[in-house]
Amino acid sequence: MLTAIQMKESAYHRTAEEIDAELIQVKAAQDDPRRFEPLYKNYYKRILSFVYHRLDNKEQAFEITAQVFYRALDKLHSFKPQGLPFSAWLFRIAANELNQWFRQQKARRTVNIDENGLSGLKESMEDSALIDKRLFAALEELDEEEMELIDMRFFEQRSFKEISEIKNIGESACKMRTYRILEKLKTTLQNTQ
């Protein structure tokens, strides 16, 4: 049995007022790209962190981060809020840029795992005695989409709400998929005992 997935919510919660204010910033930047500055400064570190988490090279991370913001500026006129924060839209662009980069470079996606994320994942799998090596091997068996969900949820510690917005899927569907991936991981681990 898997334990309930209980992680503290990330510092993601956005009030309607904040979303409202951000829309005004977006509108300003749509009229004049130079007014993109507050959005750029507000999100630079978060996008950099998102990008670098999927790479193992700092310089590439900085380059792709810049590319994400250039792409965002190019597409800004087509941004439609749909009640979602601007950050979700930016993260989608970042994910697309990364995927494109991996394809072009024929590079493998890096999964950067720290102790906190790992212990969170192990706790979610009930049997925390499982050794890291077997878990890493099980992770290798996941497909891209599955790894992305596990990565965001456990290693980036994002809330389901945020993940659902970035991935453009419903929050309950997001939870269900994560649950199934954890089941799959556990099965793999049990089979390799």
Binding site: D20, L23, K41, Y44, Q82, R109, V111, I113
Partner: protein
């Protein structure tokens, strides 16, 4: 090889590395907009959002951002009053083009119009009566409500213009606009509330949409003079009655003669050097520092000798000359040793008498100066009473309370084109009023941004089309368009007044005492605005309400 690269020891990125890479200016310098530009027709809020506030914002943004017409978007007028019904009214003067005319405006400004000064836009002569429309702007409320742009670009740097007074002049015949005939100028003596001497003259080019620098406006080039100059005849009469006193002769203490130094006596004019004439046996001794003196020169016969006081006040310069030659030497007055003690005693007595006389003289001169000042005052008050009307009195009174009447000047502008003219100086608005995220750190500072929310006294959201920053001390105003409300960067305590214009043309405002208390460390700053009320529908009433 697996599909993923598992890494458990990722190297951290330091704040310094992030700082080096996230510079926005560097980022933008590498940005090339996609073909077709970014300013496409924006349908930002076309789809229903979540928050009610967002929907309200969406509504007014859509209403006020209709899809752009093909080609260039239509530009708003460059002089664009934020509210139609609250504007600075123009006075209309009817003049005869056949004669020279000088108009005295209600503020005391003088407008000299030469004959045959106007032509039609297609170059035809204009005869007969012409209507001149003239209005002035002396305070930031007038500037703001007239919608006059005050931004000024100098060598790529953005400034605001700090005004010492501004006017707009237009001419019409039968309702049709006229132009000035090339070569004709209107001489405008604009009343100004500041006598500072470092303003310039600018003309607003509404086609190029920028202020054009014309010239300096200074006392040195005779385009800035006191408004209350005394009548020249009265001043001369006064000066004749109280002629300037001769300067007092300050006693000089002669040195003690050096037996080893060269010295000589001169038969100088004693009335020219009364400070020396009092000493018997006075000689001039070649100064120690003088290297040009040659004893051989003393043996020669000179045609003339001339004495003057040295710049250091302690020495004199003696010049000997013939028709063909001239030699000058620095000398010091001396008396022989046996007479020196007497000379010192004499000097001390004379010095004491001199101090008393000097003090008395200064008192007399101050009394004369005061009398002259009173005469000027009297002249000024007569000028007000006799020449100018009640509004001018009111204008002057207002100015006195702020600046004192001695500061009032006439600024002369030679108007070669009809339109808006300004006595201004550039003011580094960004440096003064922009908010920085790490003030005082000594490092390159990042500009701070926040989103502005405007609410009324009941906390209800206000939909503003314009917010205007008013800076009283620099006599200027800066309108912030609605599209910038999301990334405001001004520091409210530096602003004297914030005026907002709602989409239904109501005036709301926030005074300096309220602006000072705002917390600008938040991402969103709420501006709680007071409403001006329907009874405030003129610039004068608004000025009174806002105490500007």
């Amino acid at each position: 090889m697996g599909k993923f690269k598992i890494n458990t020891r990722q190297e951290q990125i330091s704040e310094q590395e992030i700082g080096r890479n996230m510079n926005f200016d560097a980022f933008m310098s590498g940005y090339t907009p996609p073909a077709g530009g970014l300013l496409k027709s924006v349908r930002l809020f076309a789809i229903a959002g979540t928050a009610t506030a967002a929907l309200i914002v969406a509504g007014y943004l859509l209403l006020n951002n209709p899809p752009a017409a093909p080609g260039q978007p239509a530009l708003a007028p460059f002089i664009n009053p934020p509210v139609d019904h609250i504007n600075v009214p123009a006075d209309t003067y009817v003049i005869d083009t056949e004669t020279d005319t000088t108009l005295v405006h209600s503020t005391g400004s003088l407008i000299a119009v030469p004959q045959n000064a106007f032509i039609t836009p297609d170059g035809k002569d204009v005869r007969g009566k012409v209507q001149l429309k003239y209005r002035e702007f002396h305070d930031p409320i007038a500037i703001a409500m007239a919608g006059i742009p005050m931004e000024y670009d100098s060598a790529g740097k953005q400034y605001l213009l700090e005004s010492a007074g501004m006017f707009e002049i237009e001419a019409f015949q039968d309702g049709k606009p006229l132009q000035l005939r090339p070569g004709k100028t209107l001489d405008v003596q604009l009343v100004s509330r500041t006598n500072e001497n470092d303003y310039n003259i600018y003309y607003l080019d509404t086609v190029q949409r920028k202020w054009e620098y014309i010239s300096e406006n200074t006392r040195e080039n005779n385009t800035c003079r006191p408004i209350f100059e005394i009548d020249k005849e009265k001043e001369q009469e006064f000066l004749t009655r109280y002629p300037a006193e001769k300067p007092l002769s300050e006693p000089v203490l002669p040195g003690k003669a050096d037996p080893g130094a060269f010295s000589f006596t001169i038969d100088y004019r004693k009335e020219e050097f009364p400070e020396l004439a009092v000493y018997d046996g006075l000689k001039f001794e070649i100064a120690e520092t003088e290297r040009a003196y040659d004893q051989e020169l003393a043996q020669r016969t000179w045609d003339d000798v001339y004495v003057r006081k040295h710049e250091d006040e302690n020495h004199y310069v003696v010049t000997f000359s013939t028709e063909t030659e001239s030699r000058s030497f620095t000398v010091r007055p001396v008396v022989e040793g046996k007479d020196h003690a007497t000379a010192v005693k004499d000097f001390e007595e004379r010095r004491a008498r001199y101090e008393v006389l000097l003090s008395e003289k200064k008192q007399r001169e101050q009394a004369q100066k005061d009398s002259l000042y009173r005469l000027k005052e009297e002249f000024a008050s007569q000028a007000i009473r006799s020449n100018l009307n009640e509004r001018f009195n009111s204008f002057i009174s207002g100015s006195y309370s702020e600046t004192g009447k001695d500061l009032m000047v006439y600024r002369t502008l030679y108007v070669s084109r009809l339109g808006l003219w300004n006595c201004d100086r550039p003011f580094d608005f960004n440096l003064y009023v922009r908010m920085y995220s790490s003030p005082g750190s000594g490092r390159m500072q990042e500009q701070g941004f926040y989103a502005g929310r405007f609410v009324n006294s009941s906390g209800q959201m206000l939909l503003l089309k314009n917010a205007i920053l008013v800076l009283r001390t620099t006599n200027t105003a800066y309108p912030i368009p609605e599209k910038e409300f999301g990334s405001l960067s001004f520091y409210p305590p530096r602003v004297d007044l914030l005026i907002g214009i709602t989409y239904d043309n109501k005036v709301v405002y926030m005074k300096d005492e309220d602006l000072r208390t705002l917390n600008v460390t938040e991402k969103i700053v709420t501006f709680k605005m007071r409403e001006a009320g329907p009874e405030t529908d003129t610039v004068d009433e608004l000025r009174t309400l806002l105490k500007i």
